[in-house]
C-alpha cells in the first residue's frame, strides 16, 4: 500500500480508537466503580449496559452549546480541541504491534511528550475562558500539578533513554525481546531501581492525566467540576474524550518503556500477519490491564490534599528519580558487569 494511504488509514483508525476508547472506558469506569462499591453499575441500556456510552453520547450531543456570561468565546470553544487534538497526534507514533504503527519516528518518545505538553495549556485556557472562579482555581492547581509531575516523569524517561540508547518507541520495544524477565521493569542488572522507576512513571502519568487520586482539575467535591464546570454538552464530552485518550497514551508509554510493549512473555513471535495479531494482542492486554489499574486506583483511594500532592512530587519523586538517574548512569558506565 502506498505510504500516504497507509497514513490516512491510520489516522482514521486512530480517531476511531480514541473515540471508542473514550466511550467504552467510561462504561468500564462506571461498571468498575459499581462493582467496587457493591453496586451493579449501568445495566439498563443494552446487555450489561453496553449501549450506555452511545446513549450518553446522544444525550451530550442534543444539549445546547451554551456560552456562559463573562466567558471568552474563542478560548472557551478552542480549549476542548487543545486537549483532544494533541492526544490524537500522540497516537500516531505508538507501536501497537511491530509493523502496526502509523509512523516510526526516530524521536517518537520526544514527540509524545511535546504534544502532551499542550494538554495543560488547553485545560488552563478552558478554566480561564469560562470566567468562573471554580474553574480558575482548578486551572491554577492543574498547572502547578503538571509542572511538578513533569519533572520526575521526564527524568525517569531520560533514564530509560539512557538504557535503550534510542527514542524510537519500536526500538525500545525491540530491546526487550525474549522472556518476560527481559522487560525493562525486571532488568535489575541495568538499574537496581527499575521497578521503582516504573512506579514513579506510573504515578506521574496518573498525575499528568489528572486522574484520581490526583484529579485536582476536576475535584468535584470541592470545585463542582473544576475546569469543566461551565462546559455544556459536547464541549464537556470532548474534554472527557481527551482525558481518556491521555490515559491511554500514558498507560501505553508505561507499557512500551517498562512492560515490553508488544513483546509476548515467552520468546515466541510468529511471522507475517499472525505476528501482527500476536503483538497487538499482548500490547492491548498489557495496556488494558494498566488502564484497569488506573480505574481501580480511582475507586479505591480518596483524593489527596493539594499540598500533599506537591510535597509528594518535590520531596519524594524528584529526589528518587534523580538518584535513579545517577545510579543507572553509574551502573551502565562504571559497573557494566553488574
Amino acid at each position: 500500500m502506498p505510504e500516504p494511504f497507509r497514513v490516512i488509514l491510520f489516522i482514521i483508525f486512530v480517531m476511531a480508537f480514541a473515540g471508542l476508547n473514550a466511550a467504552y472506558l467510561v462504561w468500564c469506569e462506571r461498571k468498575g466503580a459499581g462493582h467496587i462499591q457493591r453496586r451493579i453499575g449501568p445495566k439498563e441500556v443494552g446487555p450489561f449496559g453496553l449501549l450506555q456510552p452511545i446513549a450518553d453520547g446522544i444525550k451530550l450531543m442534543t444539549k445546547q452549546l451554551f456560552l456562559p456570561k463573562g466567558a471568552d468565546p474563542l478560548l472557551f470553544m478552542a480549549a476542548p480541541l487543545m486537549v483532544m487534538v494533541p492526544a490524537i497526534m500522540s497516537f500516531m507514533v505508538i507501536p501497537f504491534s511491530e509493523t502496526f504503527v502509523a509512523r516510526e519516528v526516530n524521536i517518537g518518545l520526544l514527540m509524545i511528550f511535546a504534544f502532551a505538553s499542550v494538554n495543560v495549556l488547553g485545560l488552563l485556557l478552558g478554566g480561564w475562558g469560562s470566567g468562573n472562579k471554580y474553574a480558575v482555581i482548578a486551572a491554577a492547581r492543574c498547572v502547578s500539578q503538571n509542572i511538578a509531575y513533569e519533572i520526575p516523569m521526564l527524568v525517569t524517561t531520560i533514564t530509560m533513554v539512557m538504557v535503550t540508547n534510542t527514542m524510537n518507541l519500536n526500538e525500545i520495544v525491540r530491546a526487550q525481546a525474549g522472556w518476560f524477565f527481559h522487560w525493562h521493569i525486571f532488568r535489575l542488572d541495568i538499574s537496581l531501581l527499575m521497578p521503582v522507576a516504573f512506579l514513579i512513571f506510573f504515578v506521574c502519568s496518573l498525575a499528568e492525566t489528572n486522574r484520581a487520586p490526583f484529579d485536582m482539575a476536576e475535584a468535584e467535591s470541592e470545585l463542582i467540576a473544576g475546569a469543566y464546570t461551565e462546559y455544556p454538552g459536547m464541549g464537556f464530552g470532548v474534554f472527557f474524550m481527551g482525558e481518556y485518550a491521555n490515559i491511554v497514551i500514558g498507560c501505553a508509554l508505561s507499557v512500551i518503556l517498562f512492560l515490553g510493549g508488544w513483546q509476548s512473555p515467552i520468546p515466541f513471535h510468529p511471522v507475517g500477519f499472525l505476528g501482527v495479531i500476536w503483538g497487538l494482542f499482548w500490547f492491548l492486554t498489557k495496556l488494558y490491564a494498566l488502564i484497569f489499574t488506573v480505574i481501580w486506583i480511582r475507586w479505591t483511594y480518596p483524593r489527596t490534599q493539594f499540598y500533599e500532592l506537591l510535597n509528594l512530587s518535590w520531596k519524594v519523586l524528584i529526589p528518587i528519580s534523580l538518584f535513579n538517574l545517577i545510579l543507572t548512569a553509574l551502573q551502565i558506565k562504571i559497573f557494566p558487569w553488574l
Partner: protein
C-alpha cells in the same frame, strides 16, 4: 510549476499553511487587547515556528520548540497572567492621528528595505548540510564544540532557580509558613 497532488506539491501546501499559522499567531499575539488571547496567539505562533524547523530538516528542534515554548513558556506566561486582574482596562490610549499612518509607512519602509536587502544579496548556498540535525548530532555538538555555551546556560538556569527560591522565601515566616 509543481503539480499539486505530488509529494512536493502537498509539502509546499503544508509549508504555506505553516507560514500562515506563524504569521497569524504573531498578529494575534500583538493585536489582541486581552493578555490571555495574546498568549494563545504566541502559542499558535510557536507551533508554526516548530513547523518551520521541521521544514529546515530538524525535527528534534521542532519538537523541542513545542515542548519548551508551547508547553513550558506559554503555560508559565498564562499562569502569571491568571494571577493578575482578569479583565484589566486597556491602558493603551488612542495615539494622535498621525500614529496610524506613521507606523504604517514605517512598516512599509522596513518591509521594503528588508526584502530589497534579501533580494539583492548574493546568497552563498551552504556547502552541504552541517549535520543531519538528529538527536545524536545535536548531543555531540552540545558536548564538544558548544560545551562552553552549554555550561554557561546551565549556570544561568541555576541562578534563576536560586533567585526564584530567594524571592519566594522572603515572604515566609516561621509561624505563618506552610507545614
Amino acid at each position: 510549476m509543481v503539480p499539486l497532488f505530488s509529494a512536493e506539491g502537498l509539502s509546499s501546501l503544508v509549508f504555506i499553511f505553516i507560514v500562515i499559522t506563524t504569521v497569524l499567531g504573531a498578529v494575534i499575539a500583538t493585536h489582541s487587547e486581552r493578555l490571555i488571547r495574546a498568549v494563545t496567539g504566541l502559542a499558535i505562533c510557536f507551533i508554526g515556528v516548530a513547523g518551520l524547523y521541521y521544514y529546515l530538516n530538524s525535527p528534534f528542534l521542532a519538537l523541542m520548540e513545542m515542548l519548551i515554548y508551547v508547553g513550558a513558556v506559554c503555560v508559565t506566561i498564562v499562569f502569571a497572567v491568571m494571577l493578575a486582574d482578569p479583565n484589566p482596562k486597556s491602558e493603551v490610549g488612542k495615539g494622535s492621528i498621525f500614529t496610524g499612518p506613521l507606523s504604517f509607512s514605517l512598516g512599509i519602509l522596513l518591509f521594503w528595505g528588508l526584502s530589497a536587502l534579501a533580494g539583492k544579496t548574493a546568497w552563498i548556498p551552504s556547502s552541504g548540510t552541517i549535520n543531519d540535525g538528529s538527536l545524536e548530532e545535536v548531543g555531540r555538538s552540545l558536548l564538544t564544540n558548544y560545551s562552553m555555551a552549554f555550561e554557561l546556560i546551565s549556570l544561568v538556569l541555576l541562578l534563576a532557580i536560586i533567585g526564584a527560591l530567594v524571592l519566594a522565601r522572603r515572604g515566609r515566616t516561621q509561624t505563618g509558613g506552610e507545614s
